[in-house]
């Protein structure tokens, strides 16, 4: 396993794409969070919003570069033919996939920490100026607050799980363009669909089973009873998607020709 990890780490480190995509993920997360928090306002009708969740809105955008990175980690090897060399050098194919998953989780978690902390810092700086003040019952965002810490850690885990889900899908599909299509569809179609549906029961069902909508429940800190799914159970749904995708990818990698 160790040489496999070393090989995968070298690949990630020496290609320019992953670094740019990770920087893109950080930028997208912080930028959207800053943009959204800076247009919120506590009007006469009250704030009625969850400041932690608002500050972490950018994760929904930052997951796209993460997913693209995860797709490229394996499909890049298929398009360049490097997969043949890789598998010739490491005939134990599942180990290769495991090494890719571990390396990917590591780099995505590292970028995720920066992105999530940046987004929370943006919220902490911007929200008081938009009326979210301690006097109105909104103390400044702080990781010392239990639910906020859970939302922050959960968002980092969420990004890692999205990366693993995308890796699994790309291992099944192999072609980079097609895998990206499938992954982006999975991430964004269900949330859009649940808005087009009028029936609240259907909406909640879709929000419970969708990898994004369920997983992002981890960001909620207020009004947890009204969530379609509880925070950790939601992250569990995303983990289930990731596990299923990786399992399918691992199986197909073993039984298919390269």
């Amino acid at each position: 396993m160790k040489p496999a990890l070393h090989a995968e780490w070298t690949k990630v480190r020496t290609v320019a794409g992953p670094l740019w995509l990770l920087l893109g993920a950080i930028t997208a997360t912080v930028a959207l969070s800053a943009a959204v928090t800076s247009v919120m306002s506590c009007g006469a009708a009250g704030c009625g919003d969850d400041p932690t969740k608002l500050s972490l809105t950018g994760v929904g955008l930052g997951q796209a570069p993460v997913a693209i990175l995860a797709v490229l980690v394996i499909s890049g090897e298929y398009s360049s033919g490097a997969i043949r060399t890789t598998l010739a050098a490491m005939p134990h194919r599942v180990t290769v996939l495991a090494a890719k998953a571990v390396t990917l989780t590591g780099v995505v978690a590292a970028a995720g920490i920066v992105a999530v902390l940046g987004a929370l810092a943006a919220g902490r700086l911007i929200l008081p100026g938009r009326g979210f003040t301690a006097a109105r019952g909104y103390p400044a965002l702080s990781l010392a607050d239990g639910p906020t810490l859970r939302a922050a850690v959960g968002s980092i885990l969420y990004l890692a799980l999205i990366a693993l889900l995308s890796l699994g899908v790309a291992t099944v599909v192999r072609d980079s363009a097609a895998s990206m299509g499938v992954v982006l569809g999975l991430l964004y179609l269900l949330p859009i669909l649940s808005q087009a549906i009028g029936d609240p029961n259907w909406q909640r069902l879709l929000q419970r089973i969708g990898p994004t909508s369920a997983g992002l429940a981890i960001q909620a800190t207020t009004d947890l009873r009204s969530l379609p799914i509880s925070p950790w159970a939601g992250l569990g749904v995303t983990a289930g998607w990731a596990a299923a995708a990786l399992l399918a990818g691992g199986l197909l990698l073993r039984i298919r020709d390269v």
Binding site: A45, M180, G198
Partner: protein
């Protein structure tokens, strides 16, 4: 004797290198790659499946009926009405000396303030039934005197707010189906605002004073508001029946009326010469905020997003696969005029995607509509030309997006980079405007004006009305550009990218 030479002739017909042959070549490539054909089929199927889900996943049985105006459009027809029957012809005159209001607030209960389209004036209406035809002249919160009829028609009179120092005098004259509105600043010098023909008024109508105050748009939602007007010099002439004025709320329980603010009910008091009326609601066409449960063709076509991703992937691969498999050498050797190769690819891809997209939308819309209506969902009405435009426009949107993907693929020569670029350019702005309700109107307007996602305007079937304050964002189904202007933005991007790709393809080694 000279031997006769027979020149060799191949049994194959001579090959040709014309453009039709090139088109045939590209068509053969397209139809023989299973993944591409499946991608196009998947695009159409996703549109239909999502429409089915959107239609089946709603159940609105048991909700009160939506009031429908004389023109067939959904309307808000809820207001406080102080009325008497009028048999035959007659006129009514009144002066308005004050129009005040209150807007709901969670801390103060009701804070003073008047919404721009608060209305107080006189009205002649077929009956108190919601949606019945009418003509009215009124003062408004901040749009001056207006004369309106049958919900959608609006004409302006004197500008300026009303106060005790500058009252407004209003008069309506009914003669058959013709109603003429007059206004005056002093009660002696009158100007005609307009004459309207109200079809279906009938002989005996209800006429009198009315006050309405639509919900106040605050941020990304609305809160109830209320208005109070002080009327004086009430005079009627002609066939008015019944001895005294009756007050009451028209349409108190309605899909398009969100009610009064707490502890501020409608009322009227007649204190000899001066009549004070408090009311809420509106007499206007319904928009997305006032009828949030209403469905649109755009909702049914939500699957366009999935189809868009599918056609972007196929469009990119249609050229990048040639680079990946080194097929491009053969292609360019066989057809050395490289721009023509790109043109042939664009035509074949565009045509195939258009057909797939049209099949998807033509099947999806009626199915989604029928299912939604079977579930009691009210769908905003669509003219047949707008429906056709949404169907053809969606197909054209997908075809043009596929061509854009092809062009970017030819520029970058790698599928991963090309798919990412095109998705960021068109799908990402759409996700942002369609998914984030609190995206500021400025940002979402910019995103649907400048980026290729502007083309989603072809799916707009909601009609905007200037006389209703609403949140006109793409999230609510209102796009900043006209349908085909929005499409032209996408087409412009595709044309420019195709031109750049053609230049690069000619200049670069394959």
């Amino acid at each position: 004797m000279t031997p006769t030479m027979t020149r060799y002739r191949s049994a194959q017909p001579a090959g040709r290198d014309g453009f039709p042959q090139l088109l045939r070549t590209e068509w053969t490539k397209f139809r023989t790659v299973r993944g591409w054909v499946l991608g196009m089929v998947a695009a159409a199927v996703m549109m239909v499946l999502v429409a089915l889900l959107a239609g089946a996943g709603s159940d609105q049985h048991g909700l009160p009926a939506v009031p429908i105006g004389p023109g067939g459009e959904p309307v808000t027809d809820s207001f406080y009405f102080v009325h008497r029957p009028l048999g035959g012809n007659g006129s009514i005159t009144v002066s308005v000396a004050a129009l005040r209001g209150g807007i709901s607030s969670d801390r103060a209960g009701l804070r003073p303030g008047i919404v721009p389209w608060a209305k107080a004036g006189i009205i002649i209406k077929e009956s108190t039934r919601q949606g019945s035809p009418y003509a009215a002249i009124m003062v408004t919160g901040s749009h001056g005197v207006r004369m309106q009829d049958d919900y959608v028609n609006d004409r302006a009179g004197l500008p300026g707010a009303v106060s005790a120092a500058s009252p407004r005098w209003l008069r309506l004259d009914r003669s058959g189906d013709a109603v003429t509105g007059y206004e005056s600043a002093d009660g002696t010098h009158w100007t005609m605002v307009g004459t309207v023909h109200v079809d279906g008024l009938g002989s005996t109508v209800q006429g009198g004073l009315f006050v309405a105050s639509p919900p106040s748009v605050q941020g990304f939602g609305t809160v109830p508001s209320v208005a109070t007007a002080v009327f004086g010099n009430l005079r009627v002439q002609g066939g008015w029946l019944g001895g005294h004025w009756k007050g009451g709320q028209v349409g108190p329980e309605s899909r398009t009326f969100s009610g009064y603010p707490a502890n501020a009910p409608g009322s009227f008091t007649d204190s000899g010469g001066s009549v004070t009326v408090t009311g809420a609601g509106d007499i206007a066409p319904a928009v997305r905020e006032t009828l949030p449960t209403g469905g649109t063709i755009g909702d049914i076509l939500t699957g366009t997003f999935a189809a868009l991703i599918a056609v972007i992937v196929v469009g990119t691969q249609f050229v990048t696969a040639e680079y990946r498999d080194d097929m491009i050498y053969v292609t360019l050797a066989a057809s050395p005029r490289r721009s023509r190769v790109l043109a042939a690819k664009a035509i074949v891809l565009g045509a195939v995607t258009f057909v797939a997209g049209l099949a998807g939308s033509v099947v999806a819309i009626p199915l989604g509509k029928r299912l939604a209506e079977a579930n009691g969902v009210y769908l905003f009405p669509v003219t047949s030309s707008a429906l056709l435009r949404a169907e053809v426009g969606t197909a054209a949107l997908l075809a043009t997006a596929a061509i854009l993907a092809l062009a970017v693929g030819a520029m970058l020569r790698r599928s991963a980079g090309a798919v990412t670029t095109v998705v960021v350019a068109i799908a990402l702005p759409y996700i942002l405007v369609a998914q984030i309700p609190f995206l500021p109107a400025g940002a979402s307007s910019w995103l649907t004006r400048v980026t290729p996602a502007a083309a989603f305007a072809v799916q707009q079937t909601l009609v905007p009305y200037h006389q209703v304050t609403s949140i006109s964002t793409p999230y609510n189904g209102y796009y900043p550009l006209a349908p085909w202007a929005g499409f032209a933005v996408l087409a412009g991007y595709a044309a420019v990218c195709l031109a750049v790709a053609a230049v690069l393809l000619r200049r670069r080694d394959a």
